[in-house]
Symmetry: C2
């Protein structure tokens, strides 16, 4: 089936039920269906054809959810754009997928106008409460003027969305996910029991990110309610939970920490909240303790996966965070393969290794992506024998629980975002004072990992770390830039093959962490 | 994915957990995996190739479950055979699908030998506790001698099984279900929350039937436990529930009635039982009352569907059997479309009709069959625009609940079995004393519907109803034969087009039922 199936079903099953809540605005499934049909009609009127790419650069809103559905309803392909990227990075991705349209909200109106000038073939649409810039078509006006059209009824194997992830060469790759990938992942998540009937889900994580997207597709398939806030803030979450009796949310450990440590925590009624799903990194002992004390009625569930697996691959259920599971240290891992998905650890020849042996995590299932957009070589490297080779290092214990130990592809996960070291290194290498450089992830209480750069300077040239960081911020997204820079005179340690020994560079930071853990 | 995916996953996730219980025999997932791998190896040694059809004619057993997996593991196609069919009907279906192998148990050993003689190209395998007939290979000996092979890894779109259903022309049709059909249906059922983690399912309904098969595929996908009894008996169910702490079962209303009305009911501990799924017909008021009183801790859920939809299409949850739902009469219908499936009512031109209008039930989803085996014309008639046209008449109310009112294709459902009137009429018409005949379903307390024949006799020829029934029993399965025969002299009422007005014939029986309901 396709990602619009749940909407079609809900129009029959519960048309008067509330589908979306965004501030004071509530839409029933019938209203959502009407708007989606009109939106698809408007897209068609603007020349969008089946398979065309429509990019969205917006903060969270009910309109974002409508776009996920409406673009699919029109038979087109959504390209949710990372709101934290620089304009250069975004322009690059829009060129890469040859986007026919870009939809922006108030927060990104100026950037949208700039991008539309740079790519004149691209139609700009403004989707917010006001009229918006003159250069853009107004979303509400388009919907009001269009007649609803029938669902284009994309096939399961058709491309539904292109989700860009940080690229290893400084240019990001577009992960192609089919309707079947997204629907299958939603069914797997439902089968795991994470979204029982009556789920009221809070969209606090960014809607462009597939972690939130996956939860959204679950709600759209099963008819759950969507409560939407612009972006994560501890008080915003607390207000929405209290006002709308939210019972499930997805937030990364960084956000959990900000929530439970917030000074006004305890001032709102959070008793409706039953389940918090988290990912991106394990939860630390200290945070788990605090979270359990502050939210004793909440079950925490870890999900591990990646955009390429649409995204869920493993699940660490709540019970493994407590009692016997915790005594065994299972909360430090990412759980077991979820229903419908197979996970294994392979060696460099892609052959499975025995339990307790470190290798690369590989994932198989109907959730595995179609490939990277127009990158057959990178696709062939990632998808081998039907298995997605994640680039994550890890091992499996005797009971089928997985533990991540390293990033084979040298990726840093900071605050839920992926940063590829090489991309940052490419920028650093452009700095006139830099002779040699390496970027590694180092432990960070709030972000899980922080980007740390080690540079070797030209002899007798003064280097200011703050200036190096500012240099990077001009070129790449802020979250990718080093937070700390270590300036050295001696050359970096090299392997026999002449590669920088990053493990050596990381070691002192992580050993310290081990002792404190 | 394919139907063996869950086994592969369970071999990693819980190899020591109990997968099957059949009397005193318990197999872990690891043992099951070993036996399935060997069985597939044995099939390969016997010349079974990818796509070959392997028929199974057995009562319920753990070996039947192994065959479902092992045949798929070898890349072949299972043909579960109706144990209630006559030898002629079975031979017909084996010819139709050109079965390479037939597996029988003790109950069907003699019939197996007879069939193998009739079809010499077919290998006969005997799967039971003893040695079996000399004409058959012994299943346990084959497994002991074979080496386990790797999973053939059939693709989602590959044919997994051919499930024969009663044909409208006296010859049954083979419903082709893909791996994707079966896995998708299992995911839909899991998404509906009917098999939460820790489900212990009782195989009391026949394993050849897809109603039970669907529950089995759920358990195999999600790693639930399978408790197996040879066939349904009230005491067998009670013993198994008590001994193995069964918490979910699937039995038709006929069986529910036999269970709760059994004299020894109450002598066993049934407290583990949480959920009974039923289908084939709505539950009567009277039975619902008795069942609720006798099993107050059990939630009853109705599922409607057909083999062609793998099989689930609608779900009437427990809450609609009580309180407000019951006051609205929803327990007389079959519920709403399940997650992942769309259902609608269409007119003779296959166009949707408004709510509360009677038409044909049509079903769309990834669960809809590939088609009928080597019957392109019948496939084209059933699958129109992606919708399975069920032949069931019904309507949808304003709240999306479906109610069945008639069988468009003139089918009788008796004790969970489908009987096509025309097949029975074809036999009756061969009787020397019969001038004209019609077969209709009439209400029956135990079987839902009973087969009733109205015949017009040759003038001045004495006709004994019992002799007419005996005449039918020689030619077709006993459950298809009329239970009652009404002998008339006056011609049957005809429509303008000369068709027998069956509605007129049924009317007096069903009006009486309405009054008593």
């Amino acid at each position: 089936m396709n990602v619009t199936q749940g909407l079609r079903r809900m129009l029959q099953v519960d048309p008067k039920g509330i589908a979306t809540i965004d501030g004071d605005r509530r839409h029933t499934w019938a209203q959502l269906g009407d708007r989606v049909g009109r939106l698809a009609g408007a897209l068609q009127n603007l020349g969008i054809k089946g398979g065309d790419r429509v990019a969205v650069l917006m903060l969270n809103s009910d309109r974002y959810l409508e776009l996920y559905l409406g673009i699919a309803w029109a038979g087109a392909v959504i390209v949710p754009t990372n709101t934290r990227w620089s304009v250069i990075e975004i322009e690059d991705s829009l060129h890469d997928c040859r986007a026919s349209m870009l939809v922006v909200d108030k927060a990104f109106a100026a950037m949208g106008v700039q991008l539309a000038k740079a790519i004149p073939s691209m139609t700009l649409v403004y989707a917010d409460d006001d009229a918006g810039p003159a250069e853009a078509k107004n979303y509400e006006a388009l919907i009001a003027a269009a007649k609803p059209i029938d669902d284009a009824m994309r096939k399961p194997e058709d491309l539904a969305g292109i989700f860009y992830t940080g690229g290893t060469t400084g240019r990001s790759k577009g992960v192609m996910l089919s309707h079947n990938n997204l629907v299958t992942n939603a069914l797997h998540t439902l089968a795991e029991g994470l979204f029982p009937e009556g789920s009221i889900y809070l969209h606090a994580a960014p809607m462009f990110h597939l972690a939130n997207g996956a939860a959204m597709f679950v709600q759209l398939l099963s008819g759950g309610r969507n409560v939407i806030i612009r972006s994560f803030t501890p008080e915003g979450v607390m207000d929405a939970v209290q006002a709308e009796k939210v019972n499930v949310g997805l937030i990364v450990p960084t956000m959990i920490q900000m929530l439970v440590d917030h000074p006004s925590f305890g001032s709102r009624d959070m008793s409706s909240l039953k389940r918090i799903l988290y990912g991106a990194s394990p939860i630390t002992e200290a945070l788990l303790e605090r979270a359990m004390k502050k939210l004793p009625h909440v079950a925490f569930h870890q999900l591990y996966g990646m955009t390429e697996t649409a995204p869920c691959a493993t699940h660490l259920p709540w019970r493994e965070h407590t009692g016997e599971g915790r005594a065994k240290g299972r909360h430090r891992g990412c759980g077991r393969a979820i229903i419908g998905v197979e996970v294994r650890i392979v060696d460099v020849d892609h052959k499975p290794v025995p339990p307790n042996t470190v290798g690369e995590v590989a994932i198989r299932g109907n959730n595995v992506m179609m490939g990277y957009w127009e990158r057959p070589e990178e696709t062939a490297k990632a998808l081998i024998g039907g298995w997605m080779h994640t680039g994550d290092g890890g091992y499996m214990d005797d009971d089928g629980y997985f533990y991540l130990v390293d990033r084979i592809k040298d990726m840093i996960v900071t605050g839920g975002e992926n940063v590829y070291s090489i991309e940052v290194e490419n920028v650093l290498a452009q700095h006139p004072a830099v002779v040699q450089c390496a970027v590694v992830g180092i432990p960070h209480e709030r972000w899980g990992e922080a980007v740390h750069a080690i540079i070797v300077r030209k002899p007798n040239v003064a280097v200011d770390p703050a200036e190096v960081i500012a240099f990077c911020k001009e070129k790449i997204a802020h979250y990718k830039c080093p937070r700390t820079v270590d300036v050295r005179d001696e050359p970096l340690p090299l392997s026999g093959a002449g590669k920088i020994l990053k493990r050596e560079l990381r070691k002192p930071f992580w050993e310290k962490e081990k002792k404190t853990a």
